[in-house]
């Protein structure tokens, strides 16, 4: 940990390893994005992709890159970053490495919303996204209100969350058994999470949500780190605990719901990205920027890998995020043990 002092009397603490990690992760995410844009029935070399993105491609290349593949990659980057940020917030607030939005009921709320639209009304994809958004927000509000008793205590929040998850999961199971096989297949595909056929209509709302909420979450990073030490310690250190919790949780729920509406409840990004980021940066507390970069890199890489391994659009990306993220986390845990840490 180094300190940079300016002549004006300001000082900033800099953790070189964390900064390096964030830069590397961002570079990895960008490199994977370029590779992903170049992947498909009409392959492009990375040089062509970069040239087209900067405005120097042929009309055909411009159509393929700008209209077909760029929005999908942007959705992947934004969804990955949003889920990872939300996961980091939930893990800090619940003080539990398992406390991610898909364990505490937000993703299940979105799933119930989307599946109701699919199974009960055979709705359009837009309606399904709307259902997912509404379901996630309702679940988040319900959990917060039910956990409220002169403040939201971390433990109570977690327990209400898993109670809610159990209820909503059983509703999902009920909807799946009531559906005919076509709807059940469509519902399962949605539940896995997919990036197929995403266009600019999904990008803009998601970008707007992320642009507003990501700074909000990042501004709470310092207080969240204090909050991890326990409510009493955080109070003593001058953190307005209840307000921090409300602001960061609201932002996290909105991020999760928006991401889920755009791409389905992609498994495991929210849970694994913050944990992976924590191990890469070697940081003791939540490292929000690194988590967001990890999430974005993970999702884009998973999408690229699924197109290369299984062929274009055969399997939705959610299948691969679980496998990739899971294997990587296992490898990290393994090396951590051999290095004698953790």
């Amino acid at each position: 940990m180094n300190v940079v002092r300016t002549p004006g009397g300001f000082s900033v603490r800099v953790a070189p390893r964390a900064v390096l990690a964030v830069l590397l992760l961002a570079a990895a995410a960008l490199a994977a994005s370029v590779a992903l844009i170049g992947t498909g029935d009409y392959p492009l070399t990375p040089a062509e992709v970069v040239r087209t993105l900067t405005g120097g491609g042929t009309p055909a290349q411009e159509f393929i890159v700008d209209d077909l593949r760029l929005p999908r990659v942007l959705v992947a980057l934004l969804v990955g970053a949003a889920l990872a940020l939300a996961g980091a917030v939930f893990q800090s607030v619940s003080r539990n490495p398992l406390g991610s939005p898909d364990v505490l009921g937000i993703a299940q709320g979105s799933t119930v919303g989307a599946l109701s639209v699919i199974v009960l009304f055979q709705g359009t994809p837009t309606a399904v996204s709307g259902g997912a958004l509404a379901g996630g927000l309702l679940a988040g509000a319900a959990i917060y209100l039910l956990a409220w008793q002169k403040g939201v205590h971390g433990q109570r929040f977690v327990l209400v969350g898993i109670g809610m998850t159990a209820i909503l999961t059983s509703v999902v199971g009920y909807l799946l058994t009531q559906a005919d096989l076509n709807d059940a297949t469509r519902a399962t595909t949605w539940m896995v999470g997919s990036l197929n056929g995403r266009d600019w209509k999904q990008v803009w709302p998601l970008l707007a949500v992320c642009a507003v909420l990501a700074p909000v979450v990042l501004s709470q990073g310092r207080d969240l780190r204090m909050l991890e030490m326990g409510d009493d310690t955080a109070y003593a250190l001058g953190v307005r605990v209840e307000r921090t919790r409300l602001v960061s949780l609201t932002a996290a729920v909105l991020l999760t719901a928006a991401a889920t509406a755009a791409a389905g409840p992609i498994a495991f990004v929210a849970l694994s990205a913050p944990q992976v980021a924590r191990r890469i940066t070697g940081s003791p507390g939540p490292c929000l920027t690194a988590a967001a970069c990890t999430g974005a890199a993970l999702l884009v890489t998973a999408d690229w890998a699924s197109q290369h391994l299984f062929g274009a659009d055969r399997l939705p990306v959610g299948v691969l995020t679980g496998m990739l993220g899971g294997c990587y986390l296992l490898w990290l845990l393994h090396t951590e043990r051999r290095a004698g840490r953790g």
Binding site: M164, S170, L315, M323
Partner: protein, 349 residues
């Protein structure tokens, strides 16, 4: 001059108070056993065809082969027995798992047991063409056992910490779920079967199935109760547990074996019923406190009450068809659980 110092006794810890409290708890245990008996009787009597209690008695002890006797002996009794067995198994497995990992979010499926079973079952259906439930059982059990060993090794075997075990478990679960989804999406026949297996149901119970899983569950129950004291010490943390003379690494291996036997057998018999193992320990702890010597027996008695009670409800509300017990358990138990958490101070682990 000698100052008279009276020893400071924290309230509620005097020998009389402890004795009184333990008496109340023992009475409560008796009441729970009675409740289980009542629910079991109701489970035999209630269903698409109502069987009056004297007919239940007749079917159980004076079997003559009449229609109600067949219903009682061949359908209701195995179903009730399976409910009691799996309920107790899940309640105990959840309690042990939460004590082992010191994590209130730990459910019996945390070490990849449910997902291992699901992955094995979906492979059996899709690649080997297994279609019968008695065929699923061995696949599910094998999958659960293999995966729990893998998680333990990946989590660091001897040097495992609760957080690392939990993370390794979720990571393996994520990998296996990806596999299950991949198979389901490429093979719609497998999806069709799996969506019914996944919700969890007691409807397919028969005497063979009960016979298949009973020995495993019995072994698991014995192992879980034998581990009460070391597990109690483990909840204080590994260092404290070592100071109290237990061996955390050994306890962890044996505890994991107990959870695998209990939860693996239960999942094999009726699919992944997550809720019971996750919630019952919390419900029980809210009135017994964290001492596992009381939590374990209460969980073993009250989890089957919850499972059978909701199974009966599932048979009644959708008569003549029925709702799967996995769905009803969570729909009924979930709100109950949240209400309990809001009313009482939650007891930590």
């Amino acid at each position: 001059m000698l100052a008279v110092v009276s020893p400071h006794v924290p309230p509620g810890t005097s020998p009389e108070a402890v004795r009184r409290r333990n008496g109340v708890r023992a009475l409560g245990l008796l009441a729970a056993a009675g409740l289980l008996f009542v629910v079991a009787m109701a489970s035999v009597a209630v269903g698409a065809k109502q069987v009056p209690l004297d007919q239940v008695w007749h079917g159980l002890f004076h079997y003559t082969g009449s229609e109600t006797d067949v219903v009682v002996r061949d359908l209701r009794v195995p179903r009730t027995l399976l409910g009691i067995l799996t309920g107790a198994a899940l309640g105990l497995a959840g309690t042990v798992m939460q004590a082992l990992t010191r994590n209130p979010l730990a459910d019996p499926g945390l070490f990849g047991i449910s997902s291992g079973a699901a992955a094995a079952v979906v492979s059996g259906i899709s690649f080997l063409g297994v279609t019968s439930l008695t065929g699923y059982v061995w696949f599910a059990f094998l999958g659960a056992a293999v995966v729990s060993v893998v998680v333990h090794v990946l989590g660091g075997s001897r040097s495992a910490t609760p957080v690392r075990l939990a993370l390794a478990g979720t990571a393996v679960t994520a990998v296996l779920n990806g596999y299950v989804y991949a198979v389901e999406l490429t093979d719609s026949a497998a999806l069709d079967r799996m969506r019914f297996w996944t919700v969890g149901s007691l409807a397919s119970a028969n005497a063979t199935l009960v016979g298949q899983v009973a020995p495993f569950i019995a072994t698991g129950v014995v192992l879980a109760f034998a581990l009460v004291r070391p597990l109690n010490a483990m909840t204080l943390g590994d260092d404290q547990a070592r100071a109290l003379g237990t061996r955390p690494a050994v306890t962890r291996v044996l505890g994991l074996a107990a959870v695998t036997l209990l939860c693996g057998a239960a999942t094999a018999a009726c699919g992944p019923i997550v809720f019971v193992g996750l919630m019952v320990p919390h419900m029980v702890r809210s009135f017994t406190g964290p001492d596992l010597r009381w939590v374990l027996p209460y969980a073993a008695l009250l989890a089957p009450v919850l499972l059978l009670g909701t199974d009966i409800l599932g048979r009644v509300v959708a008569r003549p068809s029925e709702l799967q017990v996995g769905i009803v358990t969570a729909l009924v138990g979930g709100p109950l659980f949240i209400r309990l958490i809001r009313r009482r101070r939650t007891a930590g682990l």
